[in-house]
């Protein structure tokens, strides 16, 4: 239970800090310092358990997502203990420091929240006992790092630095996810304890190499290894406490932590040795070299961090066991001296207002105390004896000599290490000399002075550690190092001694050479360095990255624009291509086009009707630019379709088609009035008149392809036998459905639910049309497209009178069609369209005013009521214990009248009738009454 508490305490602190906010500032300090301190104490209290026996690990586990193998599993062994100690210890100091660094306002609260959240996430990374959980925390550190780097969000460099860091480390995290999934796939579990025990299996697995590369990708991005190191210097846009904490002591160490964590399973192959060590070596040298060329104080420290991370990586990659111990030792030392250096740099920045090494000079006179602290830490960084950095550097030099990776070129590694040591010495001197000595400074805030007392306490504390570890390493970090190394190697530790003095040996010589070389380089070649510095100044990784991002965005925009050109014909063409080509591809497997059913003899009437239909359709295409003409021909097609329906035994369809056709024509003629004459638009749209050959070909291929596909499918199916469920409907129509017209019984009974849905579609269409027409104003053409004026007579007498006369007659026909629908062709839908047409004829013949003065029902309400009626009919059956829409019918014998059949389906059909009538009238009459006198139009809206 202690392990989750370790993570929970900083989280709790963050939550409390957020709640407290700026309201009770006095409570803030106890929360943000007290709770993490409690976590630290808790961690230290576990020391005994962890260190008690070699290889022992504390564990805690709760299932989270077992399906994925992701458990909330925590594990505290020596390695985790070391890192947790760094995270909590340095974290505490950084928070102390930051309290003085930041102004106390709301954004400071946000800062501490983020910092504490980061602390929790980082603890999660080091304590994770499940690799997927580790990935979770790993990405969380990336996200929080992004937020912290961009904390001063009004600064462009902060925003850009943050984005760059997120892109690189977040991308690495994705690689880690893949790598971890592969590792889990190989091992059959993501539990660290299981995975770590399967080194042999992992290393002989064919997926080992991809997995290794993915994991290393994550390591290298997070730890800013070459060539992914460019983001780290730009992360320095963050407030200095963040740099001290995330970008020196903890987050960048997550990468090397992972190297250590997975060392037992990954180490031991040549891929590991070469990939890790060579990357580390390159980073070591490049980082050190670039550190020397920085003008920005924090930039120098950032490149120094890169270089030291390279050193650690290199150590992990060397093929000796002791090198790993050295790596862990250097992790500790680097965290301590680099954190203190960053804090010192922050103090300098804070007090002088600049971090420019060209402007900073001679500060030792103004802030002697800070100068001493910074100099000690720098010397440690340079690997000067008496300080902790020296010890791990000696071990490093020793191991470069002991390894045997490169065969006859083995000397390259020690030589390069010595050279890197010299560069390290040089930039450390640059830091010391450049900042604290050499004349009067030229500063924005002049004269600088010492910072508040407690801002220096964390630095002092760290510097003391540098000294103490440097002097008596075995008594201070011996146990910790041993425990961590043991957990990493999972084998008996190699012999090593933590002493300041090992006698005169080759590593010492390398140290001396590198220190002398570094001093020489700095003091003799300062002018050359300055020229170099100017030369690389314009090589800004940030700018290049931004350029690359811009280029990526431009590319993305170009692709998007190319695909989404805003042109419906293009979209339709894509869609048709997919919907025709793929089915056609699979249809090509059809061995025989015709099936076993003999194609029936040709029926002359059917054939003639089909031929006329096809002719009309082709004619529509031919004349489609003359709109009215095309409409007339389309109407001809509709008529032919209804004849085809009639011929092929579908009278209900024919009736429906005839009625729908009339309403559709009314609708389209209404629309035609407003459409601009074709001739007006031609100039604007050359492509329309003169489609390019390619486009013409495309359209032809799609049209003919679509036609062929449907024809082939239709023919192939029609000539095959099938066994339809419809025989049931024919059998049951009369006894079960109470109607002779099977199609109608299907519509109102067997499949009445479809009909209910269908009238809902209609009602919604009506609502949608009404909504669309609200506020729509269309210009009224004052003359016909050919320039002839309209006639003055709006409502010719003959039409007006006959429209009125037709109404009662047509209503009777509608009643007839409605009532007989259940037994003969007809039904509510057709009756509704007949009624609608009769009423619309009044609008056409007598005008809106005349008609609505006489018939002014709320069509929309009728339509809604129709659905309610149909729905209630369906619900009625529930009362009798039957499912929704169960129909009931009965034959009643009325004296003197005879048999009368009543069926609930007829009420349902009446509902259909109401909805269809209401909707049709809503749609057409509302479209028709667009151009009204303003007063009437206002009512309408």
């Amino acid at each position: 239970m202690a392990l989750p508490l370790l993570i929970a305490l900083p989280l709790l602190a963050a939550a409390l800090a957020w709640l407290i906010g700026t309201r009770a500032a006095r409570l803030l300090a106890p929360v943000i310092i007290g709770l993490p301190l409690a976590a630290l104490v808790l961690l230290l209290s576990l020391r005994g358990e962890v260190f008690a026996q070699p290889g022992h690990a504390l564990g805690w586990r709760v299932a989270w997502l077992p399906a994925l193998g992701l458990d909330l599993s925590l594990r505290l062994d020596g390695l985790a203990f070391l890192f947790a100690l760094l995270v909590l210890g340095v974290g505490l100091l950084v928070i102390l420091y930051a309290r003085y660094y930041l102004a106390r306002n709301e954004s400071a609260v946000r800062f501490f929240c983020l910092l504490l959240l980061f602390k929790a996430a980082m603890l999660g990374v080091v304590l994770a006992g499940n690799l997927l959980l580790l990935v979770v925390f790993w990405e969380l550190t990336s996200i929080l790092s992004f937020l912290l780097i961009g904390f001063w969000s009004w600064r462009a460099d902060a925003r850009q630095g943050a984005r760059m860091a997120l892109a690189v480390t977040g991308g690495g995290g994705l690689a880690l996810l893949a790598g971890v999934l592969l590792l889990g796939h190989i091992c059959g579990s993501f539990e660290l304890s299981v995975v770590l025990a399967q080194a042999g299996k992992v290393q002989h697995h064919p997926l080992y190499l991809p997995m290794l590369v993915l994991v290393l990708l994550a390591v290298f991005t997070k730890s800013a290894q070459f060539p992914f190191s460019f983001w780290l210097p730009h992360a320095m846009a963050a407030p200095t406490p963040v740099s001290a904490y995330l970008h020196s002591a903890t987050m960048v160490k997550a990468g090397v932590f992972l190297l250590a964590r997975l060392y037992p399973v990954l180490d031991g192959t040549n891929s590991w040795f070469y990939l890790v060590s060579m990357t580390g070596l390159a980073t070591l040298i490049v980082g050190a070299g670039l550190a020397l060329l920085q003008r920005d104080l924090k930039g120098l420290l950032a490149y120094s961090t890169i270089s030291h991370l390279g050193l650690i990586t290199l150590l992990f990659g060397l093929d000796t066991q002791l090198s790993t111990v050295a790596a862990i030792f250097h992790i500790i030392n680097h965290a301590v001296f680099k954190a203190s250096l960053f804090m010192a740099a922050g103090i300098i920045d804070h007090e002088t207002g600049t971090r420019d090494l060209d402007r900073l000079r001679g500060l030792a006179r103004y802030m002697p105390h800070t100068a001493v602290l910074a100099i000690v830490a720098s010397l440690s960084m340079a690997g000067v004896p008496l300080f902790n950095g020296f010890l791990s550097k000696e071990m490093f030099f020793g191991e470069t000599l002991a390894q045997g990776l490169l065969g006859e070129f083995n000397w390259v590694i020690p030589a390069a290490a010595t050279m890197a040591g010299a560069l390290t010495m040089a930039y450390s001197l640059r830091f010391i000399y450049g900042v604290f000595f050499g004349g009067r400074p030229d500063l924005p805030n002049y004269p600088p002075h010492e910072p508040p007392r407690f801002m220096k306490v964390p630095v002092e504390f760290l510097v003391v550690i540098c000294l103490v570890v440097g002097l008596v390493p075995a008594y201070t970090v011996g146990d910790l190092l041993a425990a961590a190394s043991l957990a990493t190697l999972r084998a008996p530790l190699p012999e090593y001694s933590l002493n300041l003095w090992h006698g005169v040996n080759l590593p010492l010589l390398m140290s001396l050479v590198s220190m002398a070389g570094g001093a020489t380089l700095f003091f003799l070649r300062r002018d050359a360095l300055r020229r170099w510095q100017q030369a690389i100044e314009h090589l800004s990784a940030r700018r290049s990255f931004e350029h690359a991002m811009r280029a990526l965005e431009r590319f993305a925009a170009a692709v998007t624009r190319w695909l989404e050109d805003g042109s419906l014909p293009t979209y339709l063409a894509w869609m048709l291509l997919a919907m025709l080509a793929l089915p056609a591809y699979f249809l090509a497997d059809l061995a025989a086009l015709a099936g076993s059913v003999p194609a029936g003899a040709i029926d002359p009437i059917g054939a003639a009707t089909l031929a006329l239909l096809a002719l009309c359709a082709i004619a529509v295409v031919a004349v489609h630019r003359q709109r009215l003409l095309a409409l007339v021909l389309l109407s001809g097609c509709g008529l032919m379709v209804s004849l085809v329906f009639l011929r092929f035994s579908a009278p209900d369809l024919a009736l429906t088609q005839i009625s729908v056709e009339v309403v559709t024509i009314l609708l389209l003629v209404l629309a035609l009035f407003y459409l601009p004459p074709e001739s007006n638009d031609r100039a604007n749209d050359r492509a329309h008149d003169h489609p390019r050959a390619g486009r013409r070909l495309r359209d032809a291929v799609l049209a003919l392809g679509g036609g062929t596909l449907l024809a082939v499918a239709a023919y192939a199916v029609m000539t095959r036998p099938y066994d339809p469920v419809s025989t049931f409907y024919v059998e049951q129509a009369v006894p079960g459905g109470g109607g002779h017209n099977v199609v109608n019984v299907l519509l109102v009974d067997f499949r009445g639910f479809d009909t209910l849905g269908e009238i809902c579609v209609l009602l919604v269409a009506g609502l949608a049309v009404q909504a669309l027409l609200k506020g729509m104003r269309l210009p009224t053409p004052s003359a016909a497209p050919d320039g002839l004026p309209w006639t003055s007579q709006a409502h010719p007498l003959l039409l007006a009178m006959l429209a009125r006369l037709m109404l009662p007659l047509t209503l009777l026909v509608a009643a007839f069609i409605l009532l007989r629908g259940h037994n003969q062709p007809g039904g509510g839908f057709i009756a509704a369209l007949i009624t609608s047409v009769a009423l619309l004829l009044q609008y056409v013949g007598n005008g809106v005013r005349w008609t609505e003065a006489r018939i002014a029902p709320d069509y929309r309400a009728i339509a809604g009521a129709g659905i309610v009626m149909a729905g209630l009919t369906g619900l009625g059956s529930l009362v009798f214990g039957y499912p929704f829409l169960t129909t009931a019918f009965g034959h009643f014998h009325l004296p003197g009248i005879g048999e009368v059949e009543l069926a609930t389906a007829m009420i349902f059909d009446l509902g259909v009738f109401c909805t269809v009538t209401g909707t049709t009238l809503v749609i057409v009459s509302h479209l028709g009454v667009r151009n009204l006198p303003p007063a009437r139009a206002a009512e309408e809206d």
Binding site: L797, L798, M801, L802, R804, L805, R820, Q842, I897
Partner: protein, 167 residues
């Protein structure tokens, strides 16, 4: 009272007969249903069907006029058939103007319908004051004779049938 209950007795009757024709049944139930529908639609039509105030009189004239029209249609159909199938160059098409005396809208409507229905003539336009009819004739021998024929054979009976009520 009766007028309000049964505003269009003729119409209701016609509707009932139509109903019987539609359902092809003379069962009592259909008589009743047809009567109900005729009554209901008649009531509805009272609001919707504003035909102007008039009284239909002389049912015998209606019958006679109908017979005339039917006979004329059959007769002229044959003539027109000959014209259509024969040499079209021999046709003598013409526009003629027929002055109108009828005033009632329904009577005018009926006249236009009859003229258009009877073959060889086709009513193309009614003047705005409804006092003249522009008729297209497929093969005109003599204008005056045709005008006279139209007026005597169709317009006069119509005038008698539709007698305007003083409003």
């Amino acid at each position: 009272m009766l007028r309000r209950l049964l505003p269009h007795p003729w119409l209701s009757l016609i509707l009932m007969l139509m109903w019987l024709m539609l359902v092809q049944s003379v069962a009592l139930g259909h008589w009743l249903l047809g009567a109900a529908l005729g009554w209901a639609i008649g009531r509805l039509a009272d609001r919707w069907l504003v035909l102007g105030a008039f009284r239909l009189s002389r049912p015998d004239l209606i019958l006679r006029l109908s017979c005339h029209v039917l006979i004329d249609i059959v007769k002229a159909n044959l003539e027109v058939a000959v014209m259509v199938l024969g040499r079209t160059a021999r046709l003598r098409p013409a526009f003629i103007v027929v002055p109108l005396d009828v005033e009632h809208e329904l009577a005018t409507t009926a006249l236009i319908s009859i003229v258009s229905l009877s073959p060889g003539t086709l009513c193309a336009e009614l003047s705005d004051d409804r006092r003249a009819l522009l008729v297209h004739v497929l093969d005109l021998e003599e204008e005056a004779a045709l005008v006279a024929l139209i007026k005597s054979r169709y317009e006069t009976p119509l005038k008698e049938i539709f007698q305007c009520l003083p409003s």
